[in-house]
Subunit: 319 residues, 2 copies
């Protein structure tokens, strides 16, 4: 059976999976990225995990290659550069070092760009020429497709929209020290920060008065919203406002037919989508009104990033 | 001789020229757009002007077609829609109506997108795959090229960056009622508005205390800066700050190799370019530093927009 290894290097987890031609992730495993601050040891852990995954198959696998999605990855150079949410700093020659351990065709790309390829190959963007995928995990990423092609930019670093300066309110710092940068507001981390902000701004009773920042998870915030917690509701509304303005601004850039959202924050469902649609409609220029959809990714939620990474290799085999 | 008619429909002037294969504008004429609020009468005026221009040639001209650059033009439908700086409102089927008067191959495009094609065909962007052209006239326009192709968007309205919401300071309204929109700050009009703002903020002596808004022209502001007028200097610095942040944000989108600036504001030379470079460098993410140039357009200043419009037709004949 033909198979591609998909690896998603995230700020929190590293996810690895075996992906078939239809984009189905047949086997997966993950480990915590931060538990391997030493790069060589981290890459050894990936190798071990891949071997463990492939050994689960009794039949012989024909491994076509390995696709890697990672923050701040340069597809041109095969490196990760200055990634805010990863522990290794500077320029990391990840493809070169990984190929020493797994000798096979290998490509790396910004995780959100990889996700955009995945959405086009396996998901809801089939047949679309102009769309933008937004990943809302630890950070905020964007993969932009225009004229039917992924935009990589002069040097492979297009789509770093998480660090677009929104010059909003209190001007939070992102991990790249951008004051008022988008991902400080719109991401799983951003939502947590907004809970803290709302606790500072208002005196409403809230379950979050007895939960420490480090113990706070996205699911808690969704559950609290369902229970009518005023701090959670204010936090979603505020997040959606910033997010809606950002998507309206992005529309003016490449005029996508649709935005596809994926990642942790999407699991909050209507609590994020409903106010987002309201603010987006309010901010959007007339000339775009009614022409731009905000949709969920069509990739399976748990393995979205793995499928995206695998798409880097499967793309070459697509008809 | 083969020739293309280039027409630039601007908020202030309508410029018409005859452009040869090398992008040289051989004959030009212009008239004031606002003097023709009736669309049919306006189009008649264009026809008359074209006939006058071609009659200047003793030799027979082989007219290949007509390219039109206009604000908010849809290349797909041949229309102008909701253009903030034009007097005709709603959707104007300009190509259809113009072809009744000038029956020939005809294309229309957002003026800044046309300028980007012109820059690629005739100007300083030859050989570049990723760049952005910024036009700074009555409004603020952008033509975006990525992967060697112009980005038109789902519906032909990509690049409306003048209405990106910068949520800056006093939140000025653009002509499209966007509060804090970029072109309310960065454009020939924006600079005039900033002179008014600086007169409100400071008590410095300035020549502008005795010039009314309607009598104020870009050249006056440049001349005042050369004479050390503190209001002019503050206005350029403020404009460059907003502009520098905008270009830094745009870089995160498609990572262009260069920005090419054209239009009235560019004539202010070092008074805009020097502070712009300073602020751009300060706002740019580390990952992009040293890789993105801010340059002048390589098209002749007086006929930039005409050359851009003509490029819509000449593009089809390019090797």
């Amino acid at each position: 059976m033909d198979i591609v290894i998909g690896i998603d290097i995230g700020g929190t987890k590293t996810k690895i999976g075996l992906v078939n031609k239809e984009g189905h992730c047949l086997e997966t495993a993950f480990f915590r990225t931060r538990e391997h601050p030493d790069l060589d040891e981290y890459l050894d852990q990936i190798k071990t995990t891949v071997e463990e995954l492939t050994s689960r198959f009794p039949e012989r696998l024909n491994i076509l290659g390995c696709g890697i999605g990672a923050p701040n990855a340069s597809s041109r150079n095969g490196t990760i550069v200055h990634a805010a949410n990863l522990t290794w700093k500077g320029t990391v020659p990840i493809v070169e070092k990984m190929q020493e351990r797994l000798p096979m065709p290998m490509k790396i790309m910004n995780d959100a760009s990889a996700a955009a390829l995945g959405e086009m190959l396996f998901g809801n963007a089939k047949g679309m020429s102009d769309f933008i995928v937004i990943t809302l995990g630890t950070g905020f990423g964007a993969g932009i497709v225009a004229n039917g092609k992924l935009i990589t930019g002069y040097d492979g670093f297009a789509g770093e929209l998480g660090h677009v300066d929104m010059t909003i309110g209190d001007g939070r710092l992102t991990g790249l020290n951008v004051r008022g940068g988008l991902e400080a507001y719109v991401s799983a981390t951003g939502l947590k920060r907004t809970i803290m902000y709302m606790l500072s701004q208002y005196l409403d009773e809230s379950r979050f008065r007895s939960i420490a920042y480090n113990d706070l998870h996205g699911e808690d915030i969704t559950r609290a919203a369902e229970e009518g917690d005023p701090i959670a509701l204010k936090a979603f509304d505020f997040t959606a406002d910033v997010f809606g303005m950002a998507l309206a601004n992005f529309t003016a850039f490449t005029q996508p037919e649709a935005f596809f959202l994926m990642g942790g924050l999407v699991e909050s469902g209507k609590w994020i989508f409903e106010p987002l649609q309201k603010y987006f409609d309010a901010y959007l220029l007339d000339v775009y009104k009614g022409k731009v959809q905000i949709l969920r990714s069509g990739l399976p939620p748990k393995t979205t990033a793995i499928c995206g990474a695998a798409a880097l290799i499967w793309e070459e085999y697509a008809g």
